[in-house]
Symmetry: C2
Subunit: 336 residues, 2 copies
């Protein structure tokens, strides 16, 4: 493995000059710089990142903490981070933390990222109190994408508004009895997204002068499968059943939609279904939803991190992301 000293020797200069030349620093004459670059390429020299890290203390890699990588929101977000890192000389280190079930396979702790990354981008997830504490105490730029984490800046949509939008859309269509499929369970005390979405739903229902039907509240875990199961339970309800269902994610909504149709329901005539997210599959299936763009959110967060690392103090801050109700074919007026 050719090192900086070999390049220096071959070019007839010192290692310090090679270092400057290669990193494009000033104080190197154009001539020598050219010569150094040439011999470096000729020798196939690539700086040792380990040595650079040790010497500078910078790793030039940003860490992404995610509970899942094989789900829509997270996949899109990770892609967004990478897009932004492209060509900027930064690496992306992925820390999969395991789902929100307990016991979690891997907990976050400061030591797991200690000196391994320059900044951290956290993808919305359930955190244990100790983890939040460790996170807040961490000595590097941090942004969370998706859901608010107490005490940490985040970029994401206004989940309350999103949930209200879906609910009000249904109410506007004439629905008076609306079921809810959300992703919250009792262990979610520190994962606020599901809770916030539920509040938006509740408030919209109440403000329309309608009643909440506790029997029409179903729980899922944001997967397609859980949507299927929820629909099965829904169909066991005695008639008259709710005429619409709002789901806390497109993946659950799609599961519910497929299952409803398989059981012979006509969506939207027998039942309106609406999701939240903007999943491609939802667009294909004609699902009404509140669209959001996790890739853009992640990109924005990464930009902030990079800016902060570049010395721009205060670059990292909370920001509300774009969202939009997209009415498609799974919602309509209730049967007369």
């Amino acid at each position: 493995m050719v090192g900086i000293d070999e390049v220096a020797a071959a070019a007839g200069v010192s290692t310090a000059t090679v270092s400057r030349a290669i990193r494009g620093l000033p104080r190197v004459s154009p001539t020598t710089r050219a010569k150094i670059l040439a011999t470096a390429k000729e020798l196939g020299y690539v700086p040792s990142s380990a040595a650079t890290r040790l010497a500078t203390g910078k790793t030039h890699t940003i860490g992404v903490l995610a509970p899942y990588v094989d789900r829509w929101f997270f996949g899109k977000a990770i892609a967004g981070v990478d897009d932004e890192l492209h060509g900027k000389g930064y690496n992306l280190s992925l820390f999969h933390l395991g789902g929100r079930t307990e016991p979690r396979e891997r907990l976050f702790s400061r030591s797991m990222v200690h000196k391994q990354i320059d900044a951290i981008l956290l993808l919305c997830m359930y955190l244990h109190p100790e983890e939040i504490e460790d996170l807040q105490a961490i000595e590097m730029p941090l942004i969370v994408i998706g859901g608010p984490v107490p005490g940490c800046p985040n970029v994401g949509i206004d989940d309350y508004r999103a949930a209200r939008a879906t609910t009000e859309h249904l109410i506007g269509l004439g629905h008076r009895h609306i079921a809810l499929l959300h992703g919250q369970d009792d262990s979610d005390l520190n994962f606020s997204v599901p809770k916030i979405r539920v509040e938006g739903f509740h408030d919209a229902v109440h403000e329309a002068g309608l009643e909440l039907d506790p029997d029409a509240a179903f729980y899922g875990n944001f997967t397609v499968q859980s949507g299927i199961e929820a629909m099965a339970r829904f169909l066991e309800m005695p008639e008259p059943r709710p005429t619409a269902m709002v789901c806390a994610s497109d993946e659950m909504a799609l599961g519910a939609l497929f299952e409803a149709r398989r059981r012979g329901l006509n969506v939207p005539k027998d039942l309106s279904i609406v999701g939240i997210d903007g999943h491609e599959m939802g667009a294909a299936a004609g699902l009404t939803t509140v669209w959001q763009d996790p890739m853009a959110q992640a990109r924005r967060g990464t930009q902030m991190l990079l800016a902060e690392l570049a010395g721009e103090a205060g670059a990292v801050h909370s920001e509300i992301a774009e969202q939009r109700l997209v009415v498609r074919e799974t919602t309509g007026p209730p049967r007369a």
Copy 2:
């Protein structure tokens, strides 16, 4: 940042002993080891990975090269790699290489992973000839997951057999005129998966004594959207149209399925549709497919890499992964 020397001083031993104790190496008395571990924890000592890398030459991170992270196969595979790395003290560095369109945003080159990773896991994708060359010349364990890359060991399903299985299933159902939605285009010379799947289809058709209909061959890029578009083109064909369509991926098949139903077709009565992959959404939508498990494949590949790194020469080798035809509701006999 507390370093090894502070621990050494506090424990009244040398840094060498601390190093041995912490890494669990022999030649340290139980007593001193216990003491060292205790003071290390007390001081909150975490070894500097940069220093360790420099000193040992090992990075303890494996690099994952992927063209996408927000698609089913790739998301699952990345999750699988991470699962396997969990708790083994290895990090996962993600290198997003950009899609297979030209010009590719980021090309692979040896220098981009130089000294940054110990081994590389490549997720099936289109590669340029120079990239393959660089890949093969690379001086570290390498495995590709998914599709064969010339000259590199891989774990993945037998794509030829998978394509044949879908086609023979349709033929067995009585279909005589079958459309094909594949993912190949002219730039795919080095990405063999689509081509192999097409061959399986062709061979199955020919061996059944049927004719290939060149007008019934559609091109997609493995996305849902491209499935929708392909179905739109399919529906422009003059009658009598093919009575079945085999798609090279579930994502395309689902797009085609949704679009067909939206246009009023009864699937499977008017048209049978089959995919390849085993996407959750396909299960929910009742899509017939050839199931495969990219997460398991990636896990297997990662195990091989880790074994090889652990000194087990020859641990990395090609392996055929499990697959299975899953007949669900989108295929049936053609209308009489």
